[in-house]
């Protein structure tokens, strides 16, 4: 059956008898509208826009014939979602080719048998209805999926944040650090993208994923004993070596999570956990990556981590002034960073 809103059938034929015959065949299924030539029919297509289920079209007509009408429909993008059927006394090969190439759905030769005509038209119209309904269903489902994806993303961010927070609480901190890293990572990524830094051609979504992953940079600290983690004062060389292991432990934890490869956040997180203590000159740990051997996001988190540590109060130190902290980073006092990254960092320092 025709859809509820598309219940008109347009019959285009210059011979009254032909229109009357077609009309009597379909009048129990459709509201019938008639046109005597292509030009009239085009007007009706506009007038009844969105309400016509199908067009039955004669070929030979005065003023504007069927082919000219099809051509005009194509050119002006009229009724392109309506199935058109040629009803012609001349179903020659040439006409059939021309008809199909102009987009008609079926060609029916006159004189026709009404029953067969009805079946042929019904099956195409039904197909169009189904297609339309499917399209609407898919559209609707896509909206739902988009909604669900947002929910899942928010949920996974919550879980990640909670995990990172739990670990930070262990070190007697407030959770402000991971928030700061998250914000700073985002700001730096956006600034690098704007600058056109190679490898930073990222979408907003990817930046969000990396920033979320940055919150996990220290999760490996869960494997570090309290005595080292919360020791006031300097660590012994042995203790320091053990502390360094948090990078490897963090990466290992990420690696062991189920379905890691399906969530880009975790592949960023792996990199960030493992490499947020590397330095530009290769003097960092654990893999002594130098220069661009390290990913830009791990480099960013490394810088953000150092900056936030400098401006925060810790059990072993007082906070530095922002200006001082920025200066310490740019001078290389806290290890070498990517000069281009530092340059961008200096540019955004007002927003800190």
């Amino acid at each position: 059956m025709a859809g509820t809103e598309k219940n008109y059938l347009l019959i285009v034929d210059d011979v009254e008898m032909n229109r009357a015959i077609l009309s009597s065949i379909f009048e129990d299924e459709y509201k019938i509208i008639e046109a005597e030539n292509g030009q009239e029919a085009l007007k009706m297509l506009e007038q009844y826009d969105g309400q016509i289920a199908a067009v039955l079209l004669d070929v030979v007509m005065p003023v504007m014939n069927g082919f000219e009408m099809l051509q005009s429909m194509k050119e002006h993008n009229i009724g392109q979602d309506i199935p058109v059927f040629l009803i012609t006394a001349d179903a020659s090969e040439k006409n059939m080719y021309e008809g199909y190439s102009l987009g008609v759905k079926d060609i029916i030769e006159k004189p026709f048998i009404p029953y067969f005509l009805k079946q042929r038209i019904r099956s195409v119209v039904d197909l169009y209805c189904t297609k339309e309904q499917l399209r609407e269903t898919v559209e609707h489902q896509a909206e739902i999926i988009e909604e669900k994806v947002k929910e899942v993303n928010a949920l996974s961010r919550n879980v990640i944040e909670t995990l990172a927070l739990a670990i930070e609480f262990r070190s007697g901190e407030t959770g402000q650090h991971i928030q700061n890293i998250y914000q700073l990572t985002r700001i730096l990524l956006r600034a690098l993208r704007e600058k056109g830094y190679p490898g930073c051609e990222l979408s907003d979504e990817q930046i969000e994923q990396i920033a979320t992953a940055s919150m996990m940079h220290d999760i490996g600290k869960i494997a570090i004993p309290d005595s080292i983690l919360n020791k006031p004062g300097r660590l012994t060389p042995e203790e320091y070596e053990e502390m360094k292991i948090h990078t490897l432990k963090g990466a290992e934890m990420i690696e062991r999570m189920p379905n890691v490869e399906q969530n880009p956040v975790f592949s960023y997180a792996y990199d960030i956990c493992r490499h947020h203590h590397e330095r530009w000159d290769g003097s960092g740990y654990p893999d002594h990556l130098a220069g661009e051997e390290n990913s830009i996001w791990a480099q960013i988190v490394a810088l953000a981590d150092v900056y936030d540590a400098l401006v925060s109060r810790r059990c072993y130190k007082e906070p530095f002034e922002k200006e001082k902290a920025v200066q310490m980073i740019s001078s290389g006092e806290c290890g070498m960073f990517n000069p281009e990254l530092v340059e961008v960092f200096l540019k955004i320092k007002e927003n800190l």
Partner: protein, 120 residues
């Protein structure tokens, strides 16, 4: 005379024609009756006289459709051949085919004239 008696006077596909008019004898009769006022054949005559091929093709084509729908088989056949003759450029066939068609049309109009006027 009633529509169902037509086949006593003419070679006509009553069954097919009535099926096309959804079994509605009154509608079929109405359009048979209308053939008396139909100008297509007159226009075809003029086209044949002036030897305007495109017009001959066009009116023969229209007539073919009308006669086909009405189940008037011989006339349908002749007008089909006339269309074909023009398309295949057999101009020598046009005149004889036209004359056959003229006779067939005359018979149709005579017999139709004997029908009870539809709607009465």
């Amino acid at each position: 005379m009633k529509v169902c008696e037509l086949d006593q006077y003419l070679k006509v596909d009553l069954e097919g024609a009535l099926a096309r008019f959804m079994g509605r004898e009154d509608m079929y009769a109405r359009f048979l009756y209308k053939l008396q006022q139909d100008e297509t054949f007159q226009k075809l005559t003029e086209a044949v006289e002036s030897q305007t091929l495109s017009e001959i093709e066009r009116y023969a084509h229209t007539l073919k459709g009308v006669l086909g729908n009405l189940g008037l088989e011989e006339g349908y056949q002749t007008s089909s051949e006339l269309v074909q003759a023009v398309r295949e450029d057999h101009t020598e066939k046009i005149e004889p085919l036209y004359l056959v068609l003229k006779e067939q049309m005359q018979t149709y109009l005579n017999v139709i004239g004997m029908l009870e006027q539809p709607g009465q």
